[in-house]
């Protein structure tokens, strides 16, 4: 198993008047290759949690194991952890800075000690993975569209060959097509390369469509953890904590309230279409 979080607590500004208990006794296991959706309202602790997973923030108490090793152990290399657990921040395009796309993506592998040649090879591979062709390599990152910039920023993390890819709202502000393109690309990476993906998102529809498992955070605690159908069953509780269910869940509930004998664990358009056809054809 890839990541294990044990009794992790995190307190901001401990011992001052501004003390905030941001994570409370978190226990999680994330096996290799899973596609996870992490949801929660603003301030629920989800960004703090993902920053623990690549060692950017150190737990106040508790342990985190990556591939069986305690990341807070004395001899543990944080540099190695950060190369293996890649974190793409919100609006990552604000962090592009190099003169051209290729050098920007090379920055990570160069920093990890790769030769220029090796770094370029990894950078090119990463750019292909996010669907950016050779013609963009020498362009300034600042000339690109919003969606393209974001893909370059994601490539910058992929070029370090991470085993785990964490994305904090990778589609905020993108148009619907741009959103689908990025998520399709990430899904492909997860399927083809077997990397673990943690997607932090405010879009219940996106989460329902792509992930195997949903973790719901509220006030620094894990409130729900399960398959999308199971988690969205609790749509009323989700609404109480600033979230919602996908539109399709509401449709199925609406039909059920009108007496339909229909599968209400449905969360995507395709599943909903199947369920509706099945119901209409039944006696």
């Amino acid at each position: 198993m890839s990541i294990k979080v044990e009794n992790v607590n995190y307190t901001y500004a401990e011992g001052t008047a501004y003390e905030i208990h941001a994570l409370k006794d978190i226990n999680l296991e994330i096996p290799d290759g899973q596609f996870i959706g992490l949801i929660g309202h603003t301030g629920s602790g989800k960004s703090t949690l993902v920053q623990h997973l690549n060692g950017l923030v150190k737990a106040t108490s508790g342990k985190i194991y990556f591939n069986g090793k305690n990341i807070y152990g004395e001899k543990y290399s944080m540099k190695e952890l950060r190369s293996q657990v890649g974190l793409v921040f919100q609006y990552p395009e604000h962090q592009l800075f190099e003169i051209n796309v290729l050098s920007d993506v090379c920055f990570g592998p160069r920093n990890l000690g790769c030769s220029q040649e090796e770094a370029e090879k990894k950078a090119r591979e990463a750019l292909r993975m996010v669907g950016m062709g050779e013609e963009y390599e020498k362009r300034s990152p600042f000339e690109l569209s919003g969606g393209q910039k974001r893909r370059v920023a994601i490539a910058g993390v992929l070029a370090m060959d991470p085993q785990v890819l964490i994305l904090d709202e990778p589609t905020a502000g993108l148009d619907p097509k741009g959103r689908d393109e990025i998520l399709d690309q990430i899904e492909l990476l997860q399927k083809e390369r077997g990397i673990t993906v943690v997607l932090v998102s405010h879009s219940m529809e996106d989460v329902a469509r792509y992930v195997d498992r949903i973790i719901v955070m509220n006030h620094g605690e894990v409130r729900f953890d399960g398959a999308p159908g199971e988690v969205f069953r609790h749509y009323r509780e989700l609404e109480e904590i600033g979230l919602a269910a996908p539109q399709m869940t509401y449709l199925m509930q609406g039909l059920k309230d009108r007496g339909a004998d229909i599968d209400t664990d449905v969360t995507t358009i395709e599943e909903a279409a199947d369920a509706v056809m099945h119901w209409l054809k039944s006696e």
Binding site: S145, A244, M248, L255, V276
Partner: protein, 284 residues
């Protein structure tokens, strides 16, 4: 309220000496007429020109060619600038970039204070605006401690306090969680209905558009489709070609039509679709 005639805007790229190196046309001969009190939505993919168009409405940008009038005032007339900005307020995407006060009520009071409104009147407006967006009980709070949706509502109150006739919201919900998103859209709808303020909403969330009076769709700087939400969202394939989408209920209805169900075009909400499906079932 707002009228544009052949509105065109070119972004210029300058070289190191400051000479124009290249031009990019962001808005291309747009004609548009928005009546007072309407709720208008503008859709379009990233780079389609919708934000550039919106920035003309409160004269952050002025046209390269053509004209835009706000309440009869030409935005190119510099002496009208403050009147125009008071008349048409703007709310942006990132709630953290537009709040300046250390206390909510000070932030909301900033606009009218800047307009030279007398102190008593400022306080009256602050109270009224915070009440209108449902944030009155947070008046003494620090904006830092608010959620994204609450911050956006404070930003809307700040615009409201200037007594505008029109508010332009440029992707106000892009960074918010579902409940924050809903609270901002409901606030905009309420100001439109109860105060008669013209709302121009730019968004990538199709569900936020279904209750608008009129929708403009932009592509390559031009208005390529317009109509009421039913007319617009009936064109599923055309919208997809423009990198856009339709509400989830519309998408499912479309999928079910393809599978042979006799559903009408232009279903926009979950409730409508539930009704239609129950009717179909009762006829079977």
């Amino acid at each position: 309220m707002i009228r544009a005639e052949k509105l065109t805007y070119d972004y210029e790229r300058l070289d190191e000496e400051g000479n124009v190196e290249s031009k990019k046309r962001a808005v291309d001969h747009v004609d548009l007429h928005i009546r007072p009190g309407k709720f208008i939505a503008i859709l379009g993919h990233n780079g389609s020109g919708k934000s550039t168009l919106a920035k003309h409405i409160n004269a952050i940008l002025t046209p390269t060619e053509g004209t835009l009038w706000v309440d009869g005032m030409d935005t190119k007339e510099e002496d009208k600038l403050w009147d125009i900005r008071q008349d048409a307020g703007m709310v942006f995407q990132n709630p953290d970039n537009q709040i300046i006060g250390t206390i909510v009520e000070e932030d909301v009071g900033f606009g009218p204070e800047n307009l030279g409104v007398p102190t008593d009147e400022i306080w009256r407006r602050v109270e009224e605006s915070l009440d209108a967006v449902g944030m009155l009980k947070y008046r003494h709070h620090s904006p830092n401690k608010l959620s994204g949706g609450q911050k956006q509502r404070v930003a809307i109150a700040g615009v409201m306090a200037m007594h505008p006739r029109c508010i332009v919201l440029d992707e106000p919900t892009a960074m918010l969680d579902p409940v924050g998103r809903k609270s901002v859209i409901r606030t905009a709808q309420k100001l439109n209905r109860e105060e008669g303020i013209t709302i121009i909403l730019i968004t990538h969330y199709m569900e936020e558009v279904v209750e608008a009076d009129h929708v403009f769709v932009m592509d390559e700087g031009k208005v390529v489709m317009q109509g009421n939400p039913k007319e617009i969202f009936s064109q599923v394939e055309a919208l997809k070609k423009l990198r856009l989408d339709v509400p989830q209920a519309t998408l499912l209805a479309y999928e079910l039509q393809k599978r042979g169900l006799p559903l009408p075009d232009g279903i926009l909400s979950i409730e409508e679709l539930v009704d239609e499906l129950c009717q179909l079932k009762s006829k079977m």
